[in-house]
Amino acid sequence: MELIRLKDIYKTYHLGEVDVPVLRGITLDIGRGELISLMGASGSGKSTLMNLLGCLDRPTSGEYWLDGQEISRLSSDGRAMLRNQKIGFVFQSFNLLPRTSALENVMMPLTYTARNLSEVDGRKRAVALLELVGLGDRMDHEPSQLSGGQQQRVAIARSLVNRPPLLFADEPTGNLDSKTSEEVLKMFQRLNEVEGITIILVTHDANVARHSNRIIRIKDGIVENDHAQIVPSEDIDATPVMAH
């Protein structure tokens, strides 16, 4: 069973009298353990698709099966719970809480977890995740005391604290220099390979897409191109930049 199955998804925005169709019939399967790049030019419907996939929004019509559950008609509270349990988000601008330690930031989503994790267990989990992303020694630092790459790693740890099977990264390297970008992308790769987490990178950067094993291109609200690719070897420098 696929993790995600989209069937004939439409999304239309109503701007006054005018209907603006943004997604026009998207059908898509995403299996567990995939590392996918969702690409598309600005205005292609890429962000809308990501919002739908991330359960932040509802399609106008169509079916969305996530983890064996049809969720396109779920209430906002239901979607909130789903996001909490099944989906992790990493944003371009990190979105860490200011003046709050890295550890507290990582623990934040636990506040909204229905089955309560005890304070101690939550802390343990957060510490383990921060160690996983290599920030074991920066746990008490506030975002302003961390570099961009470190902040993004805190954000990744935060997205994983509820152990979601699915991770969305919306332009995760957009605010990072190329070196830290590579580090962050490698981290995604490792999480994908070692932890088996399904990761969807939303990007328009071919360099980012290079790290994924499947690229989905969106254009004018439909899937233009969907193909698998061999993940480049760990030695990134040796691999040529992929040409279209």
């Binding site: 919002n51 991330g54 932040l56 929004d57 906002s76 509270d77 909130a80 719970m81 996001r83 909490n84 349990q85 988000f89 944003f91 979105n95 809480l97 200011p98 003046r99 709050t100 507290e104 934040m108 989503p109 506040t111 909204y112 977890t113 309560n116 935060r158 997205s159 509820n162």
Partner: protein, 457 residues
């Protein structure tokens, strides 16, 4: 429980992230609550002071008068019947829990002579030593008479300031002897001046003496029809009778029963009657209780069946009491207005800052929603932040309010008294301000669309 703890911690954390702003936001509530507390304490202090002054004027005083008597259906006015006895007075003092003290009163209207001057005092009170306290009299020179003086009807008296000035020309009257009718009476004390009362009477134009003396040595005439010598004769007899003062101890027939004229007079009773009883209630609030108790005690003692009307009347100083209650009601209402205004001002401040905070933290709200916060989680978080702000403000306000009323007391010497209801109200009011004015911003935050919120710049 756990989630409340977490929300509380999150809210505290959010407030700590911007300490200065949190304090400034609280300031409205702090000032408001502090003002209310200080005002209440000063108000209560001065209210107590006013109450003290009014009760000094005799607001706690009650008067028990005999009822009216009727001759052939014609009322002779209240106080014309003779029904009160010293025993009634003792019973009121001892059996009524709301009564602090009671003193009998016997009136007389006689001329006083000293040297070549004479004077007819406005009031001559025959009473017990306790009357001074009931009527709030002070002694400026000399001493009060004693229970022993009452017991043996000694010829001693206290004079008011007007009397002292008019008869003695500024000399100290203490130790001098006044001639009253045919007896010489020693002045043993001078009353401190009180001035005119509310009716414009000169209260200092007064002579006070033991009631037994007034009754049996001077005012045989209060019976109106007994001549001087008869009164003098009676005095020696009734002096003994003072100890035997149970209500209908009328067995002692002094007047010859043979006199048909006298026997027809209904007011001639052969026991030491008194004209009035002055009673002080324990407090102004207990006056109605005291009236009830006195009525029941006296009805019982006078053996009145439930159908019979009381043969006495109990009066209170309603005017004083009204003045007192209206003063404190006005004060309370004024303070309530102040409290309301400061509450609204503080609340608007809270709402303003919370709205700013919601706007400023739009992205945070978006993020929280993205990681699984429901609308009501966000609502609860912002509401708790607002309530916490208000409660902090409330507590700080209580501290500041207490502090400033202590300062006011220390430096301005205004009377203040701690007001527990004001403190409880302050806490309650500040919490409800938080809920009331925090709700709109919190609701607004909870209605945000996570996608829009995340994109907000």
């Amino acid at each position: 429980m756990h989630s409340i703890y977490r929300t509380l911690r999150t809210a505290l954390h959010a407030l700590r992230r911007n300490v200065m702003r949190s304090i400034l936001t609280c300031l409205g509530i702090i000032i408001g609550v502090a003002a209310v507390i200080t005002m209440m304490e000063i108000g209560q202090g001065s209210s107590a002071a006013i109450q003290g002054t009014i009760s000094k004027m005799g607001a706690n005083m009650l008067m028990v008068q005999p009822g009216e008597s009727r001759t052939s259906g014609i009322s002779l006015g209240s106080g014309t019947r003779i029904t009160l006895t010293p025993g009634d007075c003792d019973a009121i003092r001892e059996d009524c829990s709301a009564v602090k003290d009671a003193a009998p009163n016997v009136y007389a209207r006689v001329q006083l002579v000293y040297g070549n001057k004479n004077w007819q005092p406005n009031q001559i009170y025959g009473t017990t030593p306790g009357y001074l306290e009931i009527g709030n009299w002070q002694i400026s020179q000399g001493d009060n008479f004693t229970d022993q003086d009452v017991q043996s009807a000694n010829l001693v008296c206290l004079v008011g300031q007007t009397l002292a000035n008019d008869l003695f020309d500024g000399d100290s009257p203490v130790g001098k002897e006044l001639r009253v009718r045919n007896v010489n009476m020693k002045v043993i004390g001078v009353l401190a001046p009180k001035g005119a009362n509310m009716m414009g009477w000169d209260q200092d134009d007064v002579l006070m003496l033991p009631w037994t003396t007034a009754k049996f040595r001077l005012s045989g005439s209060s019976l109106g029809n007994v001549n001087q010598s008869a009164a003098a004769a009676a005095s020696s007899l009734t002096q003994v009778n003072t100890l035997n003062n149970l209500y209908p101890s009328s067995s002692l027939a002094v007047l010859p029963a043979a006199s048909p004229l006298k026997a027809n007079q209904p007011q001639i009773v052969r026991f030491p009657s008194i004209d009035r009883i002055y009673v002080s209630a324990r407090s102004a609030e207990e006056i109605p209780t005291a009236i009830r108790q006195i009525t029941s005690v006296l009805r019982d003692r006078h053996r009145l069946t439930p159908k019979e009307e009381s043969d006495f009347e109990v009066r209170d100083m309603t005017e004083f009491t009204k003045a007192l209650t209206s003063t404190s009601t006005l004060m309370t209402n004024l303070l309530l207005c102040v409290a309301l205004i400061s509450l609204v001002v503080g609340g608007v401040g809270i709402m303003n800052i919370m709205l700013v905070s919601v706007t400023e933290r739009t992205r945070e709200i978006g993020l929280r929603m993205a990681v699984g916060a429901r609308g009501r989680d966000i609502l609860r978080q912002f509401l708790i932040e607002a309530i916490l702000l208000c409660l902090f403000g409330g507590f700080a306000g209580i501290v500041f309010g207490r502090g400033s009323s202590i300062l006011v007391n220390a430096f301005l010497h205004w009377p203040v008294s701690i007001s527990i209801p004001a403190i409880i109200a302050a806490v309650f009011v500040s919490a409800s301000t938080g809920i009331l004015f925090g709700f709109y911003p919190a609701w607004k935050a909870s209605r945000l669309d996570p996608i829009e919120a995340l994109r907000y710049e």
